[in-house]
C-alpha cells in the first residue's frame, strides 16, 4: 500500500491510493451508520436511555436518567422535538468524527493500520447498532477517539487535557476501561505535572456538572461512567447476554485482535510489547475482554461494544500486517495446501448447512466425510504453518471464516433486519398506537391512564407526551384508560379496546448450539420473536 507522503514535484497531482482508501473507508463507515440511523427501531439500551431522558425532560425522577453529557443533551433536544430523530442525529454526528480522529492518528498507528481499523469499525455490528443510537453512552467512542487524536496531534496541552478529562468524566463507562488500560500500560504517570492537576480539576467539574444533572437538578454525587458501568450488571439493556452477543457478533474482530497479539508476543519475545502503543492497545483490549467475562451473564451490550472498539485497532494492525506479509509470502509453496484447505472447507459447508437446516447431525457416512474434510483442512493449515514463508497464508482462511459471519451481522444490523437480536427488545408500532388511544377521544380527559407496573417502563417512551399516566397495581377509580397485563377479563365498568397489543418485541439469537447458529448464518429469518402483550381497556360511557 502506498503512503500519502507524495512529493509535490513528483508529477501531476492525482489521488493517491491512501486518499482513495481513506475516502472509501470513511464512506462505508458513514453509509452503514446512515442506514442504521434510518432503519433501526428504538430498542434495548437506546429505549432505556430515551425513556430516562424523556422523564428528565418532563421533570419526573427516574433511575434511567444517568446524566452523561449526551443524555443531558438528549433531554434538551427532546424539548425541541419529541421523537428520537434529533438525539440520533447528534449521536450520528458524533460517531462520524471517529474517521476524522483515526485520520489524525494515522501517523501514530500507521496509515494502513488506521484505514483497516476504520474498516473494522465500519462493518462491526455493535458499532453500527450503537453509533447512531441515542444511548447514554453514545459519545463514548467518539470522545475516546477524539481525545486520543487530540493528545497525539496537539500533545498534553492544558486545554486539550481539560476538555478530554471533562468529556471522559461525563461520558459512559467505555472510557473507564481505556483509562485503566493506560494506567497499566504506562505505570509511571507523573502526578505532579500541571496537566495531571488540570485533568483532575476538569474531571471534577464534569462530575459536578453531572451531579447537577446538567441543569436537571441535584442528582446526588454522580459519576456517570461509574453509574452506567454498575447499572449494566442489573439492567435489561439487551435480550441477549453480553456473552451471547460476543458469540453472535463480536468474536471475529476479537479473534483477529487476539491473534495479532499472540503473533506479536511470539515475535517480540525479548521485550514483550516494547512498543508503548501495542502495550496500551493490548491492555485496553485485555481489560475489555475481562469486562466481557465479568459481565458475561448480564444483559449489557456495553462490554461487547468496548470489546469490539478495543479490538479494532489491534485487528486493523493485524490486517495491515497480514496484507503486507501476504505480499512477501511464498505463494508457490502455499498454493496447493491453501487450495486443498479451501476446497475442503467449501465442500464441508454443504453437509454442515444441510445438518443445520434439518437441525440434526446426518448419517454416519456424512459424519465420516465431514471428519475427513476437517482433517484435510487441518492438514493444509498445518503444512502452511510449518514453513515460515507460508505462515501468513495460514491465517487467511481463518480470517475469512471469522469475517463472513461478522460481515453478515454488520449488514443485517445496519439494514434493521427484523430478525436480528440487536437491538432487542424493541418498541413496537402497537405501542405507538396505544399513544393515540391515550391521547384520543376514547379517553375521558378528566380521568387518568392506569398502567400496570410491569408495563410502565416499556411504555414510557411510546407514551411520551401523554398526561395523567399512573403506574398502579390496582385500578384507580378515576382511571379512564387501563393498560394491563394481557390474559385477564376487563375490569368492571371497562370494555376491551380491540386489538393485539404488544408493547415490546424481543428477538433472541439462536440458542440450540452450533448447528442452530449455522442455520441462522445461512438464513437469518429463523429466529423466534416474543412479544410482551398487553390489554387495553376503556371505561364504558354511561
Amino acid at each position: 500500500m502506498t503512503t500519502t507522503a507524495a512529493s509535490p514535484a513528483a508529477g501531476p497531482r492525482g489521488i493517491t491510493v491512501a486518499a482513495a482508501a481513506w475516502t472509501a473507508a470513511a464512506a462505508v463507515y458513514a453509509a452503514m451508520r446512515l442506514l442504521a440511523f434510518v432503519k433501526l427501531p428504538v430498542g434495548g439500551l437506546e429505549l432505556w436511555s430515551l425513556s430516562g431522558a424523556w422523564q428528565a425532560r418532563v421533570g419526573i425522577d427516574d433511575t434511567r436518567y444517568v446524566p452523561t453529557l449526551y443524555q443531558a443533551l438528549t433531554a434538551l433536544l427532546l424539548r425541541i422535538d419529541d421523537s428520537e430523530t434529533l438525539p440520533r442525529l447528534a449521536a450520528l454526528a458524533a460517531s462520524l468524527t471517529v474517521p476524522v480522529s483515526l485520520f489524525l492518528l494515522r501517523r501514530r498507528i500507521g496509515e494502513p493500520a488506521a484505514i483497516a481499523t476504520l474498516l473494522v469499525l465500519a462493518f462491526d455490528p455493535l458499532q453500527i447498532a450503537f453509533g447512531p443510537a441515542a444511548t447514554a453512552a453514545a459519545l463514548d467512542l467518539p470522545v475516546i477517539a477524539a481525545s486520543l487524536a487530540a493528545l497525539a496531534v496537539l500533545g498534553p496541552r492544558p486545554p486539550v487535557v481539560a476538555v478530554a478529562a471533562f468529556l471522559l468524566a461525563a461520558a459512559g463507562p467505555l472510557p473507564l476501561v481505556l483509562l485503566l488500560g493506560a494506567a497499566l500500560a504506562h505505570p509511571r504517570v507523573n502526578w505532579r505535572e500541571p496537566a495531571a492537576a488540570i485533568a483532575a480539576a476538569a474531571a471534577a467539574l464534569g462530575v459536578l456538572a453531572a451531579s447537577f444533572g446538567f441543569g436537571a437538578g441535584w442528582q446526588g454525587v454522580t459519576v456517570p461512567p461509574f453509574d452506567l458501568f454498575a447499572a449494566g450488571f442489573d439492567a435489561d439493556w439487551s435480550t441477549e447476554t453480553a456473552r451471547r452477543l460476543v458469540a453472535l457478533y463480536a468474536w471475529g474482530p476479537a479473534v483477529l485482535a487476539g491473534g495479532y497479539l499472540a503473533i506479536r508476543a511470539a515475535r517480540d519475545r525479548a521485550g514483550l510489547f516494547s512498543d508503548p502503543l501495542d502495550r496500551f492497545a493490548a491492555a485496553w483490549f485485555g481489560l475489555s475482554l475481562a469486562w466481557c467475562v465479568a459481565a458475561g451473564g448480564s444483559r449489557d451490550p456495553l462490554p461487547v461494544l468496548s470489546l469490539t472498539a478495543s479490538a479494532a485497532p489491534l485487528a486493523g494492525r493485524g490486517l495491515a500486517w497480514l496484507v503486507e506479509s501476504l505480499g512477501s509470502a511464498d505463494w508457490r509453496r502455499a498454493g496447493w495446501p491453501l487450495a486443498g484447505a479451501l476446497l475442503a472447507a467449501a465442500t464441508l459447508l454443504g453437509p454442515l448447512l444441510d445438518w443445520a437446516r434439518l437441525g440434526r447431525v446426518g448419517p454416519g457416512s456424512e459424519v465420516v466425510a465431514v471428519v475427513v474434510l476437517a482433517g484435510v483442512i487441518a492438514g493444509g493449515l498445518t503444512l502452511l504453518l510449518r514453513w515460515p514463508a507460508t505462515r501468513p497464508v495460514a491465517i487467511l482462511p481463518l480470517a475469512a471464516a471469522a469475517a463472513v459471519p461478522w460481515l453478515a451481522g454488520g449488514f443485517a444490523v445496519a439494514s434493521g433486519s427484523p430478525n436480528e437480536p440487536l437491538p432487542s427488545p424493541v418498541t413496537t408500532l402497537q405501542a405507538s398506537e396505544i399513544r393515540d388511544i391515550v391521547a384520543g377521544p376514547a379517553r375521558d380527559p378528566s380521568g387518568i391512564v392506569a398502567i400496570h407496573p410491569s408495563l410502565a417502563d416499556a411504555l414510557t417512551w411510546p407514551l411520551r407526551g401523554s398526561r395523567g399516566l399512573v403506574a398502579a397495581s390496582r385500578i384507580p377509580p378515576n382511571a379512564s384508560v387501563v393498560i394491563w397485563e394481557a390474559g385477564g377479563s376487563p375490569p368492571d365498568g371497562f370494555r376491551v379496546f380491540e386489538g393485539r397489543w404488544a408493547v415490546l418485541r424481543e428477538r433472541r439469537g439462536p440458542d440450540g448450539g452450533f448447528l442452530d447458529y449455522l442455520r441462522w448464518l445461512a438464513n437469518r429469518n429463523t429466529l423466534p420473536v416474543r412479544d410482551l402483550p398487553a390489554a387495553v381497556y376503556i371505561r364504558e360511557q354511561p
Binding site: 422523564q55 494506567a183 458501568f229 454498575a230 451473564g297
Partner: protein
C-alpha cells in the same frame, strides 16, 4: 465448579493487585511478601469501596465492587511502575508469586472441597454471618443497613464481611455461595501468609549456613496454626473405642467422657455402654465441639475448629489480616534507621500502610487491634532503640506511630461513628483458674513449640540474664495490676481462693513462659538477632494467655460467663502468634539438632536431638483432632456436596427456596419486608392466641433478611441487644417491633397489618414456612388489601399496592 473457579480467579486478581504493595512493604522477605498479596489486595479494594460508598460516589451492587477493583488495580499499576526492583528482586517477586499462588490454589481448592461436604448455612450463628455478608453486598447505601433492624445501620465490626463481599462480587456469585468460598479463601490466604511470614522469620533467625532448615518453618506454621487442634481428641478417640483409664481421664480433666455413675447425668457420657462408634473415628454427632469447650466457662476455639464449624465470624476472617499485621511489625523491626516524625514525613507511605492495615484490623475484629498494635509499637521502639537510648527511641517511635494512628482513625471514621462497642471496662478475673491439664490439652502444642525457641535460640545464660531481669516486669506488672484491680473491688482474698491451687499453677506456668520468652526476645533484639521477632511473637502469645487468666473485658455475658469472650478472643490471637513462633522454633530446633556444620554447641545439639521426638509426638497428638473431626464432620466424606449454602433449602423446601430467590431478584435492596419474628404462638380453646416461646435467637427467625440482605423490623432479638447494648430503652424498642410484626400476622383487620407495615416502612409481607408454623390459625386475608406478587404452594409474598404518577398530571 464454575463458582469455585470464578472465586479462585477473583482471588488471583486480588493477589495481582496486592503484589506491588507486598513487594513494596516486604522487600526483605524471601518471597517479597507475595504470600501476603491476597489480604493486601483485599484491603486495597475494600477500603476504597467502603470510603467511596460512604461518600456515595461508588454505586451499589456488583458494579461498585468491580469499580473499586479497577481503581485499586490502577493504583497498583502506578506503584509497580515506581518500584525500582533489580533483576534479582524481580525474579524473587516472580518466584514468590508462583509459590504463593500455588499454595493459595491448593489450600483454596482443598478447603472449598472440604466445605462442600457441609455447605449448608444453618445452625449456630451462621444465619447472622450470612446476614452481614448480604448487608455488605446489597445495602443501597453505606455504612450498610442492619437487615435485622430496619432503619438502622449495622453496629458490628463488619470489614471481614465486606472483604468476602469483594471476593464474591468480583466472582459474580451470590452471597450464599460467596459465604463458603469466602471461608475457603480465608483459609488459603492465611496459609499463604503463614508460609511467607514464617519462612522470612526462619531465614532471619537461622545463621546463613543453616538456612536450608528454614524451609521447615512454613510447613510447621501451617500445621501448628491451621491444623493442630485440642489434644482432647486423643482421649475422645480412645473413649469412643472404650479404651480409657479412669484416673488418667480424671487427671486430664476429661471426666465428661467417662460413663455416668449411677444417679449422675451431667458432665459424663450418658449413652449406652460399649463401643461408642461405628467407625475407626468417633461417630458421635459433633463430638469435636467439645474440643472448643475444654476450659469450663470459656470458648477456646482454634483455627481448625473454626474452619470445621464453618461460621464466617470476624475472628476467623481476620486471620489473614492478623498474619499481615504480624508480618508488617516484623518487617518494620527488621529494616534499618530510626523511626520518627521526620522519617514518617520523608516516606509517608509506610505509616499510611500501617494505618490501612491496623485500622482495618480494628474494623475487622476489634479485639485484635490492641494486641497487634502493641506488636507494631514494640517493633517501632525496638528498631529505634538500636540507634538511640530508650527514652529517645520511645519518643521517636511515638512520632512515627501517631500519624499512623490518626490516619487509621480518619480512614475508618464512617465505621467508628456508627459502631457502638459493648465492652465496658477491664476487670480482674476472680473466678476459678484454668486447670493445668486443661491448659495443656488446649494450648499445649503451640505453647510447647513456642517454648522450644528457648532451646533453639537462647544466647546463653550470660546474655539472657540481664534481659531476664528487665523482662520480669512483663510478667510481674500484669499480676500487680490484677492484685490492684481485685483489691479495689474488695475481692482479692476471694479471688485468690477462687482461683484454686490448680489455677495458680497454670498462672505460674503462663507467667513463667511469658517471662522466659520475653527475656529471649529482648536478649536477641539487643543484638539485632533475626530470631527476636519470633521470640517476641511467642512472648506475646504467652502473655495473652497469661492476661486472660488475670483479667476480663466486661461485656454482655458478664453476669453468666464473665470471661467467655476474653479467653475466646485472646486465646485465638495467642494461637496464631504461638504457632508462628513455634514454627520458627521448630526450624531452629531442627537446625540445632541436625546441622553438622552449625554453630550449636554440643550440649545444645544433644538437647535438641532429644527434643525432636518429643515435639514430633506432641505435634502428632495435636493432629489427631483434625483427622478425627474431619471424618466426623463429613461422615467419612460421604455427605452430598454443594457449594451454595442454600442448596440444602432447595432440596428440603423448594417453595421456601423459590421465595428467597424471588425476594433476591425482585425486591429492591433498600426495601423493608415483614417476616415472622420467630416467636411461637398457639391457639387457645377460646380461639384467642397466646405466645408460648419468645426465643428467637439461633432459630430461623429473620431468615429472609439473612438470606437476602433486605431489612425486616426485627431479627434476632438478643443479638441486637449484644450489638447495641442491654438497656431498658433497647429492650422496649425491640419488643415493640416484635409485637408490631406479630400483629401483622395475628390481626383480624387490615388496619393493624397496614399500620405495622407503614410504621417500619415495609413494602412487602412474607408468608412462608416460618410464618405458617409460628402463627397458627387463619392469617388475615391479605389478598383483600395487598397485591400477591409471589406464590409457590402455600407460600406467598404480598406487596403494598403500587401507585406512582409517571407523567405530568
Amino acid at each position: 465448579m464454575e463458582a469455585v473457579l470464578a472465586a479462585w480467579l477473583a482471588a488471583m486478581l486480588l493477589g495481582a493487585i496486592g503484589l506491588p504493595f507486598a513487594a513494596a512493604l516486604f522487600r526483605r522477605f524471601p518471597d517479597a511478601g507475595a504470600g501476603l498479596a491476597v489480604p493486601l489486595g483485599l484491603l486495597a479494594v475494600a477500603l476504597p469501596y467502603f470510603l467511596l460508598r460512604a461518600a456515595d460516589i461508588l454505586p451499589p451492587g456488583r458494579g461498585g465492587y468491580l469499580l473499586a477493583a479497577v481503581l485499586a488495580a490502577a493504583a497498583a499499576a502506578q506503584l509497580a511502575g515506581r518500584l525500582r526492583l533489580h533483576r534479582r528482586e524481580l525474579a524473587r517477586v516472580g518466584a514468590g508469586a508462583a509459590i504463593a499462588a500455588s499454595i493459595f490454589t491448593g489450600a483454596f481448592l482443598a478447603s472449598a472441597a472440604f466445605r462442600s461436604y457441609n455447605a449448608e448455612i444453618v445452625g449456630t450463628e451462621q444465619p447472622m454471618d450470612l446476614l452481614f455478608l448480604n448487608a455488605a453486598m446489597v445495602s443501597p447505601d453505606y455504612p450498610p443497613r442492619d437487615p435485622w433492624l430496619a432503619g438502622e445501620r449495622v453496629s458490628y465490626y463488619y470489614f471481614g464481611y465486606l472483604q468476602v463481599g469483594v471476593l464474591a462480587s468480583i466472582a459474580g456469585v451470590p452471597a450464599s455461595t460467596g459465604y463458603n468460598l469466602g471461608l475457603a479463601a480465608t483459609f488459603a490466604a492465611t496459609a499463604a501468609g503463614l508460609v511467607s511470614l514464617s519462612w522470612a522469620l526462619a531465614r532471619w533467625a537461622l545463621p546463613r549456613r543453616s538456612r536450608r532448615f528454614a524451609a521447615a518453618a512454613p510447613a510447621a506454621a501451617l500445621a501448628l496454626v491451621l491444623f493442630v487442634g485440642s489434644l482432647s481428641a486423643v482421649f475422645e478417640w480412645a473413649a469412643a473405642h472404650e479404651r480409657y483409664n479412669e484416673s488418667l481421664y480424671r487427671a486430664f480433666g476429661v471426666e465428661n467422657l467417662l460413663p455416668c455413675e449411677p444417679g449422675q447425668s451431667a458432665d459424663c457420657y450418658a449413652g449406652p455402654p460399649g463401643q461408642r462408634t461405628s467407625a475407626w473415628y468417633p461417630t458421635e454427632y459433633w463430638f469435636w465441639w467439645r474440643g472448643s469447650r475444654v476450659i469450663p466457662g470459656t470458648i477456646t476455639e482454634f483455627p481448625f475448629f473454626s474452619f470445621l464449624l464453618g461460621d464466617l465470624h470476624p475472628h476467623v476472617m481476620a486471620l489473614p489480616l492478623m498474619t499481615l499485621a504480624a508480618a508488617f511489625a516484623a518487617s518494620l523491626w527488621r529494616a534499618r534507621g530510626v523511626l520518627s516524625w521526620r522519617s514518617a514525613a520523608r516516606s509517608p507511605w509506610r505509616p499510611a500502610a500501617a494505618a490501612v492495615i491496623f485500622g482495618g484490623l480494628a474494623f475487622q475484629n476489634t479485639w485484635d487491634v490492641v494486641t497487634f498494635s502493641a506488636l507494631l509499637g514494640l517493633a517501632a521502639v525496638g528498631r529505634s532503640w538500636r540507634e538511640q537510648p530508650l527514652p529517645r527511641a520511645l519518643a521517636s517511635a511515638a512520632g512515627w506511630l501517631a500519624p499512623a494512628g490518626l490516619l487509621a482513625l480518619a480512614l475508618y471514621a464512617p465505621w467508628w461513628l456508627t459502631f457502638s462497642s459493648q465492652a465496658s471496662g477491664l476487670y480482674a478475673y476472680t473466678g476459678a483458674g484454668t486447670r493445668p491439664a486443661h491448659a495443656f490439652l488446649q494450648f499445649g502444642v503451640p505453647l510447647a513449640f513456642a517454648g522450644i525457641g528457648l532451646l533453639a535460640f537462647a544466647p546463653g545464660f550470660r546474655r539472657l540474664g540481664p534481659a531476664a531481669a528487665v523482662a520480669g516486669w512483663v510478667a510481674v506488672l500484669p499480676f500487680v495490676g490484677w492484685v490492684g484491680l481485685a483489691a479495689l473491688r474488695g475481692d482479692l482474698a476471694a479471688a485468690a481462693e477462687n482461683r484454686g491451687a490448680a489455677g495458680w499453677v497454670t498462672l505460674a506456668v503462663y507467667g513463667g513462659l511469658t517471662w522466659a520468652l520475653a527475656a529471649l526476645a529482648l536478649a536477641l533484639a539487643s543484638r539485632r538477632n533475626g530470631a527476636a521477632p519470633a521470640a517476641a511473637f511467642g512472648a506475646a502469645g504467652a502473655l495473652l494467655l497469661y492476661g486472660a487468666e488475670l483479667f476480663l473485658v466486661r461485656d454482655v455475658f458478664f453476669g453468666s460467663v464473665p470471661r467467655l469472650n476474653t479467653v475466646f478472643k485472646l486465646s485465638y490471637q495467642a494461637w496464631l502468634l504461638l504457632g508462628i513462633a513455634g514454627a520458627v522454633a521448630a526450624a531452629g530446633l531442627l537446625a540445632a539438632a541436625f546441622d553438622a556444620h552449625g554453630a550449636a554447641r554440643r550440649s545444645r545439639r544433644i538437647a535438641a536431638r532429644a527434643a525432636v521426638p518429643a515435639a514430633a509426638i506432641l505435634l502428632a497428638g495435636g493432629l489427631v483432632y483434625p483427622l478425627l473431626a474431619a471424618f466426623n464432620r463429613t461422615e467419612a466424606f460421604s455427605r452430598p456436596t454443594a457449594i451454595d449454602g442454600l442448596a440444602w433449602l432447595q432440596s428440603a423446601d423448594p417453595g421456601e427456596y423459590a421465595l428467597v430467590r424471588w425476594v433476591e431478584h425482585n425486591v429492591p435492596p433498600g426495601a423493608v419486608l415483614i417476616e415472622a419474628t420467630g416467636r411461637r404462638w398457639v391457639v387457645e380453646a377460646d380461639g384467642s392466641r397466646r405466645m408460648v416461646d419468645a426465643g428467637v435467637d439461633y432459630t430461623d427467625a429473620g431468615r429472609i433478611a439473612s438470606r437476602t440482605g433486605r431489612q425486616v423490623p426485627i431479627g434476632w432479638y438478643f443479638h441486637e441487644i449484644q450489638w447495641r447494648g442491654d438497656s431498658p430503652a433497647n429492650r422496649e424498642r425491640f419488643l415493640a417491633r416484635q409485637d408490631a410484626v406479630d400483629q401483622a400476622y395475628l390481626a383480624s383487620t387490615p388496619d393493624a397489618v397496614l399500620a405495622a407495615m407503614r410504621t417500619y416502612g415495609a413494602g412487602y409481607l412474607v408468608v412462608g414456612s416460618v410464618e405458617l408454623s409460628r402463627y397458627p390459625g387463619p392469617l388475615p386475608d391479605y389478598d383483600a388489601f395487598l397485591d400477591r406478587v409471589f406464590e409457590a404452594g402455600r407460600y406467598r409474598i404480598y406487596r403494598l399496592p403500587h401507585y406512582e404518577p409517571v407523567s405530568p398530571p
